[in-house]
């Protein structure tokens, strides 16, 4: 049984999304596979050229790995691995292809895909509350080139920056596909549509066989059955004002620069400076926030906050650089409390 599982993992399918200009020959060359096998595996005739957005399965090769895993979970997070019932997700859970990860209304999770090696580029996907995704393909293929594909059914995800990575990570939705090489983008499921915001690098948004290139700092929405809309500019990152960097948070009172075009602001708290591990997410109407109750995990004793402006069409803008704040003295023993770094 164990042998069968290992063989299945080793031969797991790797998916790539066809973009404008791709042909079976160019894809085969890029991925180092045989074009004839690629066509056979995907039922393509000798002269067929797939349209943008088509998902092709690469011929499986021994040695390919599937090593997605859950690296952070807070609040309600469930994991359903193929052949097993749903269970609460914990950091370290392995996610073979076909695994479904969901966050509840208060849940945050981060999964790691397509790791090609320690210290090498890899992808992390942050699931916001109310999100469900399926890991379709998480393989690192020849030479660290990755072909990660995830299907998002509900909610909102953010793909962390991976500027040095080779290959693509694709987010599939019922409305289209967003694919990018350098990560740093968000995809949100809306009724009958999917919204993409490119934050760190350019992405391609594909729907109904049409592709729209979206540069960093732009967003696009694709409605089911339609071509993606032309890119629009995202609102700039707000300037964080209070509390100051490294300040002790004696009162949960936050302030940042006004943005006249903003309809609201998204306020985030993470337990790390890259916001891989999120602890709080809130939509705030104005350029300050003074919540009656402000609830965070007690550890590690210092946190990072940032804000993004949301425009009138729902696009979430560029994030401000995270700013650290600390717990007041006495909440965490001084010997173990983690301080903000200068």
């Amino acid at each position: 049984m164990i042998v069968l599982v290992l063989v299945a993992a080793a031969l797991a399918a790797t998916e790539v999304v066809v973009k404008r200009g791709d042909t079976p020959a160019s894809i085969a060359a890029t991925w180092g596979v045989d074009e004839r096998e690629l066509r056979e595996r995907n039922h393509l005739g000798a002269t067929d050229v797939p349209t943008p957005g088509t998902v092709l399965v690469l011929p499986a090769r021994p040695g390919e790995r599937s090593d997605a895993s859950l690296i952070y979970a807070a609040g309600e997070v469930t994991v359903r691995v193929p052949g097993a019932p749903s269970a609460a997700g914990h950091p370290g859970d392995k996610l073979p292809e076909g695994s479904v990860v969901c966050t509840g209304a208060d849940g945050f999770a981060t999964i790691r895909l397509a790791t090609s090696g320690a210290g090498q580029p890899h992808d992390e996907i942050v699931l916001l509350p109310g999100t469900c995704l399926t890991v379709d393909s998480a393989s690192a293929v020849s030479g660290g080139r990755r072909a990660a594909a995830v299907r998002v059914d509900t909610g909102s995800i953010a793909v962390r920056d991976a500027p040095d990575a080779v290959g693509e990570v694709a987010i599939k939705t019922a409305s289209g596909v967003t694919t990018g090489g350098g990560g740093g983008f968000r995809v949100t499921i809306e009724p009958g549509a999917a919204r993409t915001e490119a934050v760190g690098d350019a992405v391609a948004v594909i729907g109904a066989g049409q592709q729209v290139d979206v540069a960093a700092g732009e967003g696009s929405r694709v409605r089911t059955g339609e071509a993606p809309q032309a890119p629009i500019k995202l609102l700039p990152a707000p300037v964080l004002e209070l509390p100051a960097a490294g300040a002790t948070l004696d009162a949960a009172r936050f302030r940042w620069g006004e943005e006249t075009a903003a309809s609201a602001f998204r306020f985030e708290v993470g337990i790390d400076p890259d916001f891989v591990a999120l602890a709080l997410l809130a939509l705030v109407p104005g350029a300050s926030w003074r919540p009656p109750l402000f609830d965070l995990p007690q550890d590690p004793g210092s946190w990072y906050w940032r804000v993004e402006a949301v425009d009138g069409d729902g696009f979430v803008g560029m994030p401000a650089a995270g700013r650290c704040f600390e717990a007041p003295a006495g909440l965490v023993p001084a010997t173990t409390r983690l301080r903000c770094r200068p």
Binding site: T115, A118, P291
Partner: protein
């Protein structure tokens, strides 16, 4: 060799050995004499490499020296690098021993675990000597970067995460972080967190065995108001400090919070969860408005009762009272009426027990014409922080 042994004992594991041959010039432009040498060194902090060199050859020539090189490249991971160095020692020419020292300049080109080596050294002393060396060496490298195959998660380690700093910048389950931790300088501080345990910061070399203290079943609570507020938590009196906040660890369960000050009294029930930090915001006290009949500065009995309650709930706050009048009648009379209304309210507050130095009459203000006339005849009592 004692020097090298001492460095090795200090925990610097990345050594280098090289053999070189070199033409030796007693003077620049003189006939070259062949010499061969052996050098041993240890890489410290990735870029600094102290070493010892012995050389001998034609002439006869025999020398020994120590050197210190700075290599700019990442030789720890097998990258090519140039280097600059300083060396000093002595050489013997068959007749006498000559102390000498000077600069080194060179480069090394990796070939697997070995490397080709080229350098030029000038030894300055009573006799000027130059060496141009070409050699081969072997250098111990940091562990190769290999794909991580996640090991099964041991139950005892489940959920333990380690923050790996630049260039990784990520949280990794500790059981998968062996290669990353090994590639960091051993003294690099890394954060380790685990649900139910206090976080800790340890040297990278000791992360896997980090001792973590279990979290007590309590949460953290911060009450944030304004410094004069008086706070009672589950029956116990507490004062907000200079920062206007009070922080404490609280056992898991329900906490009853009572706040007094600035003329207001608030009661709130707070649920404290283990492992959570909760900030509770106390709203700022709001101004109180006292209304007057037309052409009157007499506080009615109902307002007197309200003002007495304000004093009872004043805490350590002070108050500023400012009056206004509706626009009917003479302007000067109205200005006097506004001041009289403020003064009348101040008198009531003092009569109710508020120290006189904690209430002052502020400048009257023009009534808001958008308000009905009866609402323009008033005095406003605003809580202010006692200076």
């Amino acid at each position: 060799m004692l020097f090298l042994a001492a460095l090795a004992a200090a925990g610097t594991p990345y050594g280098v050995v090289e053999v070189h041959g070199a033409p030796w010039f007693d003077q620049l432009g003189s006939e070259p004499l062949p010499v061969v040498g052996l050098r041993g060194g240890l890489l410290v902090e990735r870029h600094w490499e102290p070493g010892l060199v012995v050389e001998g050859g034609g002439g006869p020539r025999l020398g020994g020296r120590a050197d210190l090189r700075w290599l700019h490249g990442d030789v720890l991971h097998g990258k090519a690098s140039g280097f600059l160095g300083l060396t000093g020692g002595a050489w013997w020419d068959g007749d006498a021993v000559h102390p000498a020292g000077g600069p080194e300049l060179g480069a090394e080109l990796p070939i697997g675990p070995a490397f080709l080596h080229l350098d030029a050294t000038v030894l300055l002393g009573a006799e000027q000597v130059a060496l141009v060396g070409l050699g081969v060496g072997w250098r111990k490298h940091a562990p190769a970067v290999v794909p991580v195959v996640p090991a099964p998660v041991a139950a005892s380690l489940s959920g333990t995460m380690v923050w790996i700093p630049h260039p990784w910048c990520e949280w990794i389950p500790i059981e998968e972080a062996g290669d990353e931790l090994a590639a960091l300088p051993p003294e690099t501080k890394v954060r380790v967190v685990k649900p139910g345990f206090l976080p800790t910061e340890v040297d990278a070399a000791g992360a896997a065995g980090a001792q973590m203290e279990p979290l007590p079943p309590q949460g953290a609570l911060t009450i944030a108001g304004t410094s004069p507020d008086r706070v009672r938590l589950t029956g116990q009196e507490a004062r907000l400090g200079r920062t206007g906040s009070l922080s404490m660890l609280a056992g898991e369960g329900v906490v009853k919070l009572h706040v007094e000050g600035g003329g207001r009294r608030l009661d709130q029930v707070i649920a404290v969860s283990a492992g959570r930090a909760l900030w509770v915001d106390i709203p700022d006290p709001q101004p109180l408005v006292v209304y007057f009949p037309v052409r009157s500065a007499v506080v009615d009995p109902g307002s007197r009762s309200t003002l007495k309650q304000v004093v009872a709930d004043a805490g350590d706050w002070s108050f500023e009272v400012a009056g206004s009048a509706s626009p009917e009648g003479d302007v000067k009379e109205n200005e006097a009426l506004a001041v009289a209304r403020a003064q009348a309210v101040r008198d009531v507050l003092i009569a109710a027990g508020l120290p006189a130095e904690r209430v002052r009459v502020g400048a009257s203000y023009a009534p808001d014409p958008k308000l009905p006339l009866e609402e323009q005849r008033m005095a406003r009592v605003t809580p202010v922080v006692t200076p």
